[in-house]
Amino acid sequence: MSRTFLGMPGIPHGTGNLGGEEPFPRSAARHLADHQMRANLANATGTIRAKRASVVSELPDWEELRESGRAVKEATMARLDEHLVELERRVTERGGTVHWARDAAEANRIVTDLVRATGAEEVVKVKSMATQEIGLNEALEEAGVTAWETDLAELIVQLGDDRPSHILVPAIHRNRTEIRRIFLETMPGVDPDLTDDPRQLAMAARAYLRERFLRAKVAISGANFAVAETGTLAVVESEGNGRMCLTLPDTLITVMGIEKTVPTWRDLEVFLQTLPRSSTGERMNPYTSTWTGVTPGDGPGEFHLVLLDNGRTAALADPTGRQALHCIRCSACLNVCPVYERTGGHAYGSVYPGPIGAVLSPQLTGVEANPSLPYASTLCGACYEVCPVAIDIPSILVDLRGRQVESDRRPSAERIAFGAVARVMSPPRLWRSAQRLTRLGRLLARGRATLPAALPPPLSKWTRTRDLPTPPSETFTRRWARDHGDRT
């Protein structure tokens, strides 16, 4: 690595629900012991992987769409300042108000003040990663405002006093039996004969929320996209709870990370094809709403857009890691990740779990505040392969690991050991002698493919989780010398 990136002086990192107290290996070990969760997750991710693969294979131009999506995002970021100013101008022209928030606390303050100004004591919410990231519900609660989550999975999480574990399906760790129990225990007026049939459970949520939609004065949403040239916002959803929130209340407040911007209306033709197929494995999600400012006689009369930084500009300053800002939150990378499938989303400690969370969270907070997440991956590359905007997650992970090591200058057994290895590997003569010594390993292996696992402590910390292959009878350099003459 030619240089080490440790953040731009003057660009602060983000705060909020972006990392746990516990390092990933420890929380992962704890969550791995939850067999019910693992079974639920293996079942759910298996289903969604098959659906995604099937609808993606229908599009002969999938790779071209993927490349265009990546390029649109890259082009957006290169002139993000201009696009945001244009977005602000267009939204304002159409009767909306734009607010800017440097961090989580500022965004929460802006939203809380806006809600207070309406006199409302409750708000309905559309599922939004940005508002989870900043902990908006808690901030509203402190201000005496009740926030009703209206997405079915978010409702399950909220009623169960739980935390989301997946970007798209926050209650993916729960099965139908658990959901039935949560509804029976917490939903006022629910039918006591409720079964665990998903249809019945969905109907219970419909009845419970309809009344809240109809009386709500204020709604809070996120946004999937914002088109700079027209000032148009887009929310992609399934249940219709988004439409309820975007259409019925008098006031709509949308909180959006600045990276959700796209330059032109035409750019949506790419993402509206790739996002639904990648996330729910559908050709198109049931409902997508777009709106531009305020439309007299249709929908909220007051519209506020809160543009959130919270560490995004710090991530933007990183030449490798900035591509994590291209993420369109489809969650395809979670569903294919062998680590996520086993540990579940809670182990990551951040509202952004899985492979994208392992790169995004440390970049928003700074890697010093999230040192273990870059290691929450086997680097198998499945996430990169399915990403609809081709984010090279493995490369960012490797880069972040490098930064994490560089940022931690304390001597460790690993550092000392690798220092010694480096000294042995540098001079060819010393290295060849060392290679001859490895032949001893063949004696230990006694014909097996791998060496006996256990080295004595402290080296056992390394060998416990890694197989050491039996050294070959001849090294590559020797064979090369034999076949091509010794030119080393």
Binding site: A75, M77, L80, R94, L152, L209, V227, L272, S289
Partner: protein
């Protein structure tokens, strides 16, 4: 410095540090389906996709729209049906007898209606999507949302192949709703259940060209 100025300054500093340069966006994907709007294959594809989402599709000729809509409503709501509201600008020849016009009533009262009848701005065959543009023919957004049954009338010439062809026919300044089947959720074990908050039943009346 205001938050706005500060965030913009951070972006400029970050892009400078990362030496970001703007590159050309390639668009090698299919921007046109190749088949003209209303092509019989597109109509079949649209129907197939909609049925896959568990929407009901009814085909009819241009003279039979009102009767077809009438039949759908009777089947969906029964003979003593609850109030049916049509979009204010729905053509008279599409409007079944006995349907009222949306008069902008409050949401609570709209919610009590049995069904809504609307037109469509554009339909996308590949994805089984109808786009409503909140104009007079489609009606305000709440109309196609609150009543439990939604009947959308689509003319054959409004059916395009793919998403790009649809977006270029739409006005981004109008509030748009892309509808692909009835309301649905996959939040419980990723098993799709039709009918959550939006209409639980979607009927599409597909009208052949004259």
């Amino acid at each position: 410095m205001s938050a706005r100025e500060e965030i913009l300054a951070r972006i400029r500093a970050a892009n400078g540090a990362a030496q970001a340069t703007e590159t050309e966006v390639p668009r090698a994907y299919r921007r046109s389906d190749g088949r003209p709007p209303g092509h019989p294959e597109l109509l079949d594809l649209l129907e197939d996709r909609l049925v896959d989402y568990r929407a009901a599709v009814h085909r009819c000729g241009p003279e039979e729209v009102a009767a077809t809509v009438e039949g759908v409503l009777t089947e969906a709501l029964g003979p003593d049906r609850a109030e049916v509201l049509a979009a204010p600008g729905l053509p008279g020849t599409w409007t079944p007898s006995g349907a009222g016009r949306d008069d902008g009533r409050p949401a609570v009262r709209l919610s009590e209606c049995g069904a809504a009848v609307t037109g469509t701005a554009v339909a996308i065959a590949q994805t089984g999507t109808l786009v409503l543009d909140a104009g007079a023919v489609c009606g305000r957004r709440a109309l196609s949302l609150l009543p439990d049954v939604c009947v959308c009338v689509v003319r054959a010439d409004q059916v395009v192949g793919g998403v790009p062809e649809a977006l270029e026919r739409l006005d981004p300044l109008a509030p748009l709703t892309f509808v692909s089947g009835p309301s649905a959720t996959s939040d419980i074990e990723l098993e799709r259940v039709e009918g959550v908050h939006g209409p639980r039943t979607l009927h599409v009346v597909l009208v052949a060209s004259a």
